[in-house]
Every structure is written in C-alpha cells, then in structure tokens.
Symmetry: C2
Subunit: 386 residues, 2 copies
C-alpha cells in the first residue's frame, strides 16, 4: 500500500560547478559537484524553499525511496512529506550531500582533475562555512534567493546557525536542533579518539588507501561504535540493552556476550562497509572548528547580532552529546542579541539520536512552527483555509 | 628534604603459590605468584591490616618510592603514610598486584609452566571473585585472619564489596569508593570499544603478540585515550583544556591542534609503552562481569545480607563513569539489608579520577573514619591519648 504521506520515488540530481573555489582554509578546489534531492514544488516567487543540512554521517537522501523496493526511506522521512511536519505540499525541500561527503558530492574519494587519481590525503580540510558557501551556490543555481527555513540537527544545526550569520538576508527561519554553539573539550576528545582510530589503522595509508585496494575498516568501525555510545543516552541504552546476555550465561571469552556489544559491533561493521574514512575525518574536524563566536572575542551574542532570521532552537532532555545547556547558550545569545527565538526542550529517552526519531511532542512542535512559516511564504488558497 | 609523611623507600615482595588453583570460570592455573608491598607494622593479634584493592590500571606499588630518585611515588601516596588518612603508624597496609596483572603477579605475559612460553591467549578470563580468592590466600600467608579494612576505588571498590560477601568474617570495614554494584550498558559499551581497539590491532596476534616481538600499541593507546575521557568530567576537562589551541590558530590538518588532543595522545602513548594488552582485556572483562546480585535474582540487598562488615561508601559529584546514583544503589541495598553504612558524596570537579586526588573534605572523611577503625583494632597507648 503506498504511503500517502511519502514523497514517493525520488531521484538525486547533480549540480556541477566548474570554476575553482577558494575554501575558508585558503585551499582551492578546481571544481566540485553537489548531489542533491528536492521534494515538493518551488512556488512562483521561490519563497517556499527549505534547506535540510545533514549531520556527520548524513547525506542528500532525506525522504522517499530511490526504488520501490528500497528497504529504508531517506534518513528524515518521518519528518518530511505531504502532510508531515515539513510539509512537501507547501514547501520545496532540498537535501544536499555536503562537499567532502561520500554519497556523490565531490569528496576525498573523487578523482582530482590535476592528477587523475582520488584526492585522498590531498583533499582540503573544510569548515562549516565552506558548506554554507557551496550550499548558497546551489541555491543560486536553483533560483532561490531566500530560504523559508534552513533546518538541521547536530552538525546540521551548526550549518543553520552559520547561514544566519553569513547570509542574514537569505534565511527567513533557522531551526537549530540538538546542536551546540561550539564543541566542548570532551566533544573534541571523543572526535580525536575516533580520528586516531582511523589514522592509526594500517589500512589508512595516510589517507591514500584508495590506491591500495583497501579501506581502514577497523578504524571506521571503532569510530562508529564510539560515536553510537555518544548518540544514545545512558538510560535509553539501559532500557534497550541493560546487561542482557546473548546466551544467558557468561562465556569467559572475548566474543560478543552482552547484547549492547552485539548492537555496537553490528553498527560499526555496517558503517565501515560504506562510509569513507576521509569524509569521517573531515566531518569531525568541521565540528571541532565550528565556533562562530571566535571572531567576536568569544561573544556569541555579538556574532548573532547580524542575523535576520527568526529561530527555533530544540533540545532533548537525555542528549549528553549536545545537552540542553548547549542549546540554552544559543538561546541566551540570541536573546542578548534581541533576536526572535523560540526554544523547546523535548522530554526523550533517546539521547542525541532523538532529533531523528518520530516523537509526538517533537513532531507537533515542528509541525506548528512550520505551518506558521508556510502561511508566511506560501499561504493556502482562500477556500482551503475555510 | 625527606617527607616525614611518606612511607619512604619500599620494596615489593613476591608470594609464590605452587598448587593449582581453580578459577570462577572453571579454568585452572597450575601455579601463580602475587607481588605485593606492605607499609607499617602488623600488630600482635594481626588485627590492624588494611588491604588496598587496585583499579583497572593500578598495581601493588601504592605508596612510597622504590628508589630515592623515583620521579613518582606509589599511586595512592597522598592517602597512605605516617599521619596520612590511611595511617601507617597505626595500620599495616598491603598493596597487591592482582592476578592477571602486568606488574609482577602472574598474568598473560607470564611463562606457562605447561608450554614454557607466555600464556597470551591461553590465560584464563578472571572474575573479581578470583582476585578476592587469591588475595585471601595471600592474607593467609601473612597470618591475617580479619582485615581491619578493605579499601578500593572503582574496580577496587567492587573487590571490597565482593570480599564482604564471600568472606564476611574477614572484613571489619569495607570502604567502597567511586564504585558501582554493576556496570550499565553504557559502561560495558565503552569497555567493548576499548577491547575491540586492542583485539583488532593487527599487532595483537590473537593475544599471542609476545611471540611476534611486538605489542598492540595502537589499540592500547586508543583504549587509554577513551578511558581517560571517562575518568574526567566534562566540566573539569573544560576548565583544564577548554578549546585551547596549541599554536593559537587552526592548522587545517590532523596533527595535534587542541590541547586536549595533546593530553590524550600523550596519555595513550605513555600507557601503551608499559601496560599489557591482555591484562587490559582481563580487567575490563572483570568489570563487565561484576554483578554480585546476579545469583540473588538481581536483589543486591539479598546479596549483601550475609556481609558482616561496616561500610563507608563514597562518591564524587562529577563522576559520570560511576555516578553518585550508582553508589546510592549500594547504600540503599546495604540499608535494606540492615547493614551499618555511612555515605558521603564529595563535591569535586575531577570526575571519576577524584578518588585518587588530594582533596581536603575527602581526605578528612577518610581520616576521620579510619581513625575510629584504628581505635577499634590498634588503640593508642594511654599516654598518647591524654
């Protein structure tokens, strides 16, 4: 039975940018491509576009299916579709794989036109600002001057924040979900352990593993296992796995014994099959570097002063990766900068992952906020409102 | 200038047990040795002995120095010595390297008498119960029937708990510090990532790296880096390292940039130089398995009912590895079992590591509690009390 709230079968598109682009680090990429998907219809004045910014391991395939028999839909399919909180009957929604990604956009595994071989270790380190820059180039290409909303969770929320600072006039609403204004020392520490797992894997070959017919699978697996611990809450993990043993008894060995071990190793194995190690490094580094207050003497309110967007900031009670306190820092800075901001702290047992989950109060909040945005940019015909 | 509160120069001793010992797993070790140190003097009725149980990476060298020019003293030197909270003027203190350790006691790197080669992968998995069993054999050897106190932090606290259950009549006081009645799914998950880092290091050779003239340095380093994150508090790490950059600027590469990276990599490198990978695996597995309530239908109070010791349970506010809630579980079980228990939650920014730190309220608590214990077992002469 077809899901009437699904965007249905979707196909990715590719935007090619053939001119050299200078990155925030000073490095230059001779050309790049961005792969993206769109759902819904851009209205006449191109005012109803929503950009979805992805997090560490996300991509452009946000909703719908590529093939009717795809097991899984896009990664935020519960949020996006006809009649869903991000309503594709009213919005034109864009998902894009960020530059440096490994799902079709130009990244470390892409062929460098200078050498005819994969970039590998020569692919430049990126900042969140570079993603915003290239996303803006894509928006230009699509004829979108101002987004009705830019929405992102986690690292995606950082992109929404950066957009609102760098392109104030191009962001009507910024929805910053389960995010933070910058990483703490503990956040950076977890990222560095993950990076060291990858970099010290003998199969990493200094980032140029493509030429060795191998991938640093061990390192990626460890990075993902560790990441997963920080995505889940202690309580949520306890409820789901507790101290459950796979066989009911201690086996006195190092194979899987506890269910949580089985889950993490499975997640790690799966991830290491498809994710690019250099992309993982890039993404964590962009997280570490993100700190919009840095050029404002550490004053986030000062950084946000130029923003023109209205903001919705959302956090989740058991998220310890980017705890509610971190969202409140953003809210405080926005209030200090006299910006229009709404804040919601959602009760959830799902830790950081909660931003991806279907949760009634969370979805109701998103639905309510975005219905108002839709009324601003793409009002329903008179008869529909009756 | 000699420190009048130091136990001074100390020398380890070795106790050899030449008969086969059956372990909790059913495995048998043909013989074993325990290396230990003692400080202070055993009194006439052997009633003033204190056993110090070590945690994951600890050992028998708890106080004093082996050589006058040793840079560092034993790992709990701030707590143990003449006039210190664990006062060697009144107590006979024993530090022992646990079976399976890598500091002199029989462990995976020891030569198996059956093969003439290191045990490696053939060294049996151990439970906390095995440590208690072998520590009790050492106590017999030293003529100690009942300990005035058994004291341990973290995994050491679990040994103190296990002692009080298995040998109720041999423990007068059990001091259980920064510990937990069993690991959570999250605790097990962190341990499993550390183990997988070691086991998947190509230099691990299935645990038999001794024969390959190598050690799984990469894996051990990652395990230690990860461990360290869980020993420190988010706030404490923030205060000490924050987002401080080594060079003051972003370098857009993967070398050390943030001070926290430098600290963790240094700790990891140092650890991988001296710690045995198989011992690390054993220790984390003993942590995972520890669950004294398991054979009592999950009822910790029922497990504790047979204990005769009096208890001091101590936790630290910012410890998220074994949070105060976990200590309160122990306290509640002891109260339900109608045991004599004191509980203190110490304000500290140092996370789990706080149990090793010199902190005035913590040390005052330990001093006060143990002075009472000393009065019970080794009262001062009349004139000294005047």
């Amino acid at each position: 039975m077809p899901d009437s709230h699904s965007v249905g079968i979707v196909a990715p598109q590719t935007a090619v940018f053939d001119a050299p682009i200078q990155l925030a680090s000073g490095a230059v990429l001779p050309r790049f491509e961005l792969v993206y998907e769109t759902y819904g219809t851009l209205n006449a004045d191109a005012s109803n576009a929503i950009l979805i910014c992805h997090a560490l391991s996300g991509h452009h395939h946000v909703a719908g299916r590529h093939q009717p028999d795809d097991k899984a839909a896009g990664w935020w399919d519960n949020m996006i579709g006809p009649g869903k909180p991000i309503d594709t009957d009213r919005f034109f929604v864009i998902g894009v794989n960020n530059l440096g990604g490994c799902h079709g956009s130009t990244g470390p595994a892409s062929i460098s036109p200078d050498t005819g071989t994969p970039y590998g270790s020569r692919f430049p380190v990126l900042l969140v600002a570079d993603w915003v820059h290239t996303q803006a180039m894509l928006a230009d290409r699509l004829g979108i001057r101002q987004f009705a909303a830019i929405i992102g969770g986690s690292l995606g929320g950082m992109q929404a924040l950066r957009w609102s600072i760098t392109h104030p006039e191009r962001v009507r609403h910024a929805l910053v979900i389960a995010s933070a204004p910058k990483l703490t020392a503990q956040n950076i520490a977890f990222n560095d352990v993950a990076r060291q797992a990858i970099i010290t894997d003998p199969d990493f070959h200094g980032g140029d593993f493509y030429g060795f017919d191998t991938v640093p699978r061990r390192g990626l697996r460890l990075a993902r296992m560790l990441g997963h611990i920080t995505y889940l809450s202690d309580d949520g993990m306890g409820e789901k796995f507790g101290r459950m043993l796979r066989s009911g008894e201690y086996k006195f060995g190092y194979d899987v014994e506890f269910e949580i071990e089985s889950y993490l190793r499975y997640q790690g194995d799966k991830f290491s099959d498809y994710f690019d190690a250099n992309t993982y490094l890039l993404m964590t580094k962009a997280l570490d570097y993100f700190d919009p207050a840095r050029h404002y003497g550490g004053d986030l309110a000062e950084a946000m002063r130029q923003a023109q967007a209205r903001f919705l900031v959302v956090s989740f009670t058991t998220d310890w990766r980017f705890a509610p306190d971190r969202s409140r820092e953003i809210v405080k800075a926005l209030l200090d900068a006299k910006k229009d901001v709404s804040y919601a702290e959602i009760e959830s047992a799902h830790g950081h992952d909660a931003f991806l989950m279907e949760d009634a109060p969370y979805h109701a909040l998103m639905r309510g906020y975005l219905a108002r945005v839709a009324d601003e940019v793409n009002p329903l015909p008179q008869e529909a409102r009756a």
